[in-house]
Every structure is written in C-alpha cells, then in structure tokens.
Assembly symmetry: C2
Homo-oligomer: 319 residues x 2
C-alpha cells in the first residue's frame, strides 16, 4: 500500500474521496491539496469553502445531506442579517462562523493560510495534512453571458450557477506560489490522486500554479483520477453544464482529455464502461458513486491497490 | 414636555430607562450617549456590549430575561469554538454576531463608530439617535487585588466581577473626543438624564471625556439621575460591590455624592426614602424598579415631567 499519498481536491465529491483515502490509509499518510480559487471575503470574514468542506468531512462533522457545511448547523446570524436588511445570499452557518472567525483573525495576525489550516485540522483531531494550494490569493473569475465577470461565489451561490459561462480566469495564479509543503508532498508521493472535483472550477485553479503543474508533469508516482462525470452528468454542481458551455465534451472521456498526460490512470463509473475506448490513458471501471463511508473507503482502496500495481509494474509513464 | 432629551447610558438598567424615554417621547426626540469603555476585540470582532444592549432594547429585540443580547439567540458558534479547544469565555450569540460582523467590517472600511451605530439603529427601525460617547478608543481597565490589571470584559465576564477592585483606569480618555453630535445634543437639550447605570463603570468613562464633562458642567438643561442602587444593592451587576471596594458609600446617597454638582435632581427608590436628607440635590422618590415596559414608560414620564417643572421654575442651577 502507498505510504505517502497526495490528493488534489475541491468541493464535496473531492472531500468524500479524500475522506475515503484518509480512512483507508495510516492517519498521517495523506496530504490533501485543496483549491482556494473559491475563497472570498464576506462580512469581513475570509471564507474558504473548499478548505472547510475537506476539513469538516475529514473531521466527521460535515452535513450529511449537503456535504458542505456542518451537521446540525443553524442560520441565526443570517436571519439577523436579513433583519438588518442585508440580502444575505451567502448562507454562512452559525457553527461555521467559528472556523471563519478563527481563520480571519489568524490571517489578520499575519499567519499564512497553510499554517492556519493545519492548526484548525489538528484542533479537530485530523491526522492528515490539509493544505491550501497556495498562501497567495488566487480568485476564480467567471465571465458570464448574462452578467459579465463575476466572483466565483456570486456565480455559484448567488446565481446558483445558472448564468452561461464564456470564460474562466484564475486571477493571481500566475504569481502564486504553492503553499509550503505542497511540492515536497508531490515529490515524495507514492501516489497522486485527482479527486472527482469539477476539473475547471476546482482542480484547474490548483494546476494553474506553475510549480504545481510542473511537479505533476515531472512526477515519479502514478497520478490517478476519478471522474466527476457519470453518464454525462455531474453528481453535484455545474461540472457538466460548464464543460459544455466552454466547448468541452461533458463526459468522463472529456475529463480524461482535459487532464491529458497528467494522468496515468482514470477511474470511470460502470455506467460509462462503453466509453473506455475513447480514453487515451489506462481505465479502471468501478462504481464511483460515494453514497456512504463504505463507498468512500472501497473506492479509495481500489485506487490505492491500482496505484501500487502501477508502481510495481514500473508501467508508469511508459518506463 | 421636553423636545430634546439626552440620556447617558451604560448597560441593562440604562438601556431600560432609555427605552422608557424613547417610548414616552416623539420618536426623534431622544439622543442616547452610550459608554464604550467596555468595548473590546474578540475573535477579531469589535464587540461593543453597551451599545448593543441599548440598540437591541430600543429595537424591541433584547433578551427578555438577561436584558443584554438578543431574544431567542443561540450559541452554536461558541459551541463550535469549544470543539476547536477555545475557552470561549465570552458568550457571543449567533444572531448577535450579525451586529458584530457588520460593525467590524464597517470599521475596517474606515467608517467611524458613530456613523455605524446610527446606521445599525436605523436599519432596526429605531427613530432615536444612538451615539457612542466617542469614536476614539477608551478602555476601562480594572486593577484587581487578585489578578492585577484586567480588561473590563475579563473582569466582568470571565471572572464574573468577583476580583476585588483597587482602582479603575479609563485608558485613552484623556485624548478621546466626543463622538460627532454628542456636544451638540447636550447643548441643545431640554433635559439630560443620567440613567441608572453603574456610576464608575458605565457613566464615568463618558464623563472622563473632558469636553463631555465640561458640556455637562455648563449645561442649560436640568440634569436628572435615577439611582442604580436600591437599599444598598445594585439590581444587577457589581455597582454596590465595586463602590464599596473603591471606598465609596454603596448607597443611593453615595451615587448622588459621586455625581455632585452635575445633578439638578436625583430619583431614588421608595425603599430609600429615609435617605433623602443625606442627598445634597433635589430628590424625587418613586418606584424605580423597571420590571416591564409599563414601568419604564412611567418612570421616564415622571422624569420628563420633573424636568419640565424644573425648567419652568427656572430653578435650575440656583438661577
């Protein structure tokens, strides 16, 4: 079994697979590198939706239905905001505010996001290493037909990803450095996993950081990806709609194409088994819908086994 | 009836009388000048307990039992803080966070506290003018026998005002200016009311601002005060204990002495009627316990009537 695994993750689907890997591995074996292109300020708080989704999921505290946010959370603060006449379109939960307050205060005190994130993870008892892709600010900007350029959260939450997207911009990525620990984790990894997250919204911001992309291109460990698309649809969120709007094939094969030679293997759902032939990398067909903890651990275990096999066979990257 | 009334107020007792005045007067007739010596930062938020107590009370949203905080508030954020291992000794309510977030964000954007406070009051439908004593920072520091110097909230909330107080300091007051509107309100007032708030913790920080004290000393309107002490005890909080520790008489008469010639009249409770002779200013004896809205309005109406009588009789300040 791999001893050092790095997962690249974004939102709910990514967090679920990261959780499966965390539970299938020794508790300190996993490093999760998380998209922060969705981060933004709201009510003066530094909100980092993907980091928190992974944080809460690995801590076993995530909302069981939504996947994001905390179980048994409430919206009292938001209700009071409405009383003040605020539109309150971003529904921060009351418990969730604790995380956002601690992070915002620590940032104001000059701590880097990566240090803060690790501290929060430790305080919730998480043994895995949880890292933002960068301590520098990268903002995913969505250029839409209807409303022009929008911050990601406006597009995603306020307008419920209904606007038609013309173009995405990852503002700040050209000058952003990987967070401390990211490159080291990629270089020493036995296995790299690209989680079933939105390729253009959740994973691409990570890949836009030049040194991270180069580390992936120069990887020694196999890099496996689980498709976020099943039978032409995303299980959750706008992946399929957005890929189509951007002129990509909104299929599992389209995702594999998108990542290209970054992948040594691609896991697709049973429902897509017929499309194996359209995929240029090695394919593993499985049930990739993660309904419960058992599904997560099983899928993670299959990935770990496949990764081990690829390394043993020295098949990686044509060696 | 007075057309322009200024009330100086601190915590719960002060907020109740301010509310009585607000309800007994035309809605724009009242200006409440509020102590901000208790303000502090917690979790990066700028917390202003006395301002919020007055805000919530005048908006009809205050917690009916505590007097401070909001009705039907919850502590989900605080519970999550505890999960993070935080001591969480300051119990910010979830709804209350909305106020603190809006204020903190507006301060960070460079707005003065007085503008922010008026904005919040308007948004909650309050017709009265609500002003912090100053836009500058003044911090009440409590020097205790057991723990040395403490910030006010540590003394008051964390240690539940149990430490023995040697001395109080109003840090920053020597250079603090009155908030815009405070002096104008005092100068144009028909009646000034010092609310039944802790004299040394809630009112003295206001009086420590030189220009406010001078405006009171040079007042044209009568200044009336309602005793925060009844039969040697404070209805709420540490007033009596603290006055005794500081070598003052912990009685209604002791409060009147404390304010000295700032007062043109002093309202004491029926329970203290025998002490009238110990009080050097005019005395009004009434039932000053404010159990419900009716009590507040009745006591406020008595004050307004007395103030009118004092002005009519040109008796003010020995004229």
């Amino acid at each position: 079994m791999p001893r050092r695994v790095v997962a690249l993750a974004g939102g709910v689907g990514g967090a679920k697979l990261a959780d499966g890997l965390y539970r299938a591995l020794p508790s300190d074996a996993l490093t999760v590198v998380v998209n922060t292109g969705d981060d933004f300020r709201k009510y003066g708080l530094y909100v980092s939706p993907d980091l928190d989704t992974v944080l809460y999921t690995l801590a076993g505290l995530a909302h069981p239905v939504n996947g994001w946010g905390l179980a048994d959370d409430t919206r009292q603060m938001i209700e009071m905001m409405k009383l003040y006449g605020d539109e309150a379109w971003f529904g921060l939960g009351d418990k969730d505010l604790a995380t956002n307050l601690l992070r915002t205060e620590a940032l104001a005190n000059g701590q880097p996001l990566s240090v803060i994130t690790q501290d929060l993870a430790r305080r919730l008892g998480i043994g895995a290493t949880l890292l933002p892709m960068s301590d520098d600010q990268v903002a995913t900007i969505v250029d839409t037909v209807e409303y022009g350029s929008q911050n990601f959260q406006e597009y995603f939450v306020r307008f419920r990803w209904q606007p038609v997207v013309k173009r995405l911009e990852y503002r700040g990525s050209e000058s952003a450095a990987p967070a401390p620990g990211v490159l080291e984790a990629l270089e020493s990894a036995d296995l790299i996993v690209i989680c079933p997250s939105n390729p253009v919204l959740s994973i691409e911001p990570i890949l836009q950081i030049r040194q991270i992309r180069e580390a992936l291109q120069n990887r020694r460990a196999p890099c496996l990806c689980v498709s976020p698309i099943i039978a032409g649809s995303a299980l959750k969120g706008p992946a399929a709609k957005l890929m189509a709007e951007l002129g990509m094939r909104a299929t599992a094969a389209g995702v594999a194409d998108y990542y290209g030679d970054l992948l040594d293997g691609f896991v697709i759902d049973d429902a897509d088994h017929a499309s194996s032939q359209d995929i240029s990398t090695r394919v593993w067909v499985s049930n990739i819908v993660m309904r419960d903890a058992g599904d997560r651990i099983r899928l993670a275990s299959e990935l770990l086994a496949w990764g081990t096999e690829l390394r043993r066979g020295s098949e990686v990257r044509g060696q």
